[in-house]
């Protein structure tokens, strides 16, 4: 029996896998010690849990456990990586390169640094969401210390050519940071294979708990250092002070282990379901896939339905939880800057829905989502004056709209 509403917003967050929760529970009550307490068994037990989890977390990205710094999540990891590199390498240069389609945790960190003497280049992406490598090559300067490019985009799921991007950064003596929040555990993100120097990720996008994330900081070839942004007891080899969130770390560890073991089968199953969702919805007239079709995450898709408005559409798909690029759903009342960066008209950005599948998504749920979305789009078009004009062959661009 289908349980409603159906959750298809797994790029926002995922449920905690019950197997993860099981691992975490003892660390709230029985094994509650402070992992920094070195002089009694309560502390030792907690530290053991953390040490084991640190290995599990490191393994999912092919790193060593000494290269993992636990944080409160990907936003903090991005802040630590970018601000930390900027401060640590200030003698070498002040230039940072990133993309216009990055998450706000990267963009706003860069904007903050601009007020403190950083020069930041925000590279535009192509209409498929991918960075043109020649643009990156042209933007590199002798003062470039960091290139920060997301592994996979949170709105459209496109996967950047990280290996090639890292090679360009390294050729010019810069470090490569990647916000891999959406990618870790979903696709291969091996730090050595891709040449990644710093990598941000978080547990709650991969069936772990909220409030725990990590920053990978390369230790060899080259040895990368970041200036701490949180001062205190010198935890995490001095790079991030603060008592460790032991249950969170243990859960993160388990989530990473499960992701490593089950990633391939999850990806195969989910991409098949996602493709079915895509193909069915793209059968609708005037519907468009946003972002590159080939280079993208296996479990998500983003589609614009022209001539219907996103928030109205979300109300129509009331039994499925998805998100929209519509202005009305954001605090800023601006349509998605990521979709606009792809060159989409405001009206197409307003009309988009993002679907994110999870390990727990079923075929029945996808059938339901397809039907409800199609019904809602059809119904809203019947009441859309824009659809009527389109059907009459009127070019909407020729109309003088009264802006309000």
């Amino acid at each position: 029996m289908l349980k409603l509403p159906i959750y298809l917003d797994n790029n926002a967050t995922t449920p905690v896998d019950p197997r993860v929760l099981q691992e975490m529970l003892p660390f709230f009550t029985e094994v509650f010690g402070n992992a920094a307490s070195r002089n009694h068994p309560f502390g030792w037990k907690a530290e053991e849990g953390v040490d084991y989890a640190r290995e599990q977390v490191a393994m999912v990205i092919g790193a060593s456990e000494k290269e993992i710094i636990f944080t409160s999540g990907a936003t903090e990891s991005n802040n630590l990586a970018i601000k930390g590199v900027f401060e640590m390498y200030s003698e070498k240069g002040n230039h940072i390169i990133t993309l216009t389609t990055e998450h706000k945790a990267v963009l706003d960190t860069c904007k903050h640094l601009e007020k403190h003497g950083a020069e930041v280049t925000y590279l535009e992406v192509g209409s498929d969401g991918l960075l043109n490598l020649e643009d990156l090559e042209a933007a590199m300067k002798p003062t470039t210390i960091l290139v920060s490019v997301m592994f996979a985009n949170n709105e459209i799921g496109v996967i950047q050519p990280i290996k090639e991007i890292a090679a360009i950064a390294h050729k010019h003596g810069a470090l490569l940071h990647t916000d891999a929040t959406q990618a870790v555990g979903k696709v291969n993100t091996d730090v050595n294979e891709f040449g990644i120097d710093l990598l941000s990720f978080t547990a709650h996008k991969m069936y772990g708990p909220k409030g725990i994330g990590a920053l990978y900081v390369r230790r060899k070839n080259p040895r990368v250092k970041v200036t701490a942004q949180m001062d205190g007891g010198g935890h995490e080899r001095g790079m991030r002070s603060g008592t460790l969130n032991v249950p969170g770390i243990v859960g993160f560890g388990k989530a990473c282990e499960l992701a490593r073991l089950e990633m391939d089968q999850d990806a195969a199953r989910l991409s098949k379901m996602r493709d079915r969702l895509d193909n069915s919805l793209l059968e609708l007239e005037e519907s468009y896939l946003n972002g590159n079709k080939e280079n993208r995450l296996p479990h998500c898709t983003n589609i614009s339905f022209k001539y219907v408005e996103g928030e109205g559409l979300m109300m129509g798909v009331k039994d499925i939880a998805v998100s929209s690029g519509s202005a009305c759903t954001s605090a800023s009342l601006e349509p998605s800057y990521v979709l606009k960066a792809l060159g989409l008209d405001d009206e197409l950005a307003h009309s988009s829905l993002r679907f994110g599948l999870s390990r727990f998504t079923t075929e029945e749920e996808i059938d339901f989502a397809i039907n409800q979305t199609k019904e809602a789009v059809t119904k809203l078009r019947e009441m859309s004056p824009l659809w009527e004009m389109f059907k009459e062959g009127i070019d909407l661009k020729t109309i003088e709209w009264a802006e309000h």
Binding site: G312, M315, C328, E382, M383, S384, E388, W401, A402
Partner: protein, 134 residues
């Protein structure tokens, strides 16, 4: 954000969706909003020339649930009203009736604008002075 029951009702069962023949002299059409702002309302009235009464009203709206509900409600209110009474419909009446939250007040403003635009279109077609804009 939760919608009021009345917004959900108008969204699920919109009243008076459709199109009137805009070439007719006794039909006034108001098209307000802009696609890039995420709301476009088209509201039409059919007027009995002899009595000045609105005999029919239709709408089509591209927008969020509150925009659809505001225009649906407006058509309901317009039917049977005289032009003079129709001009008295204030956006705050719509806000109150639909329990719109502050961020959705612009939907009611748009509906009021659509009513005035439709009336003005009718007046212009019939060689009457348009009334002052909102």
């Amino acid at each position: 954000m939760a919608y009021s029951e009345k917004v959900i009702d108008h969204y699920s069962n919109p009243r008076n969706i459709g199109t009137l023949d805009k070439s007719k002299n006794n039909v006034g059409t108001g098209l307000v909003g802009a696609p890039e702002c995420g709301d476009v309302m088209r509201l039409q009235i059919e007027v009995d020339d002899a009595t000045g009464t609105i005999t029919d009203a239709k709408f089509k709206t591209f927008g969020c649930g509150s925009a659809i509900a505001s225009s649906s409600l407006a058509t309901e209110w317009l039917k049977g009203k005289s032009i003079d009474d129709a001009l008295k419909i204030d956006n705050m009446d719509i806000v109150e009736e639909l329990a719109l939250p502050p961020v959705k007040i612009h939907c009611s403003v748009l509906a009021e604008d659509a009513i005035k635009a439709a009336i003005n279109d009718y007046r212009t077609k019939n060689n009457l002075e348009p009334i002052a804009a909102h």
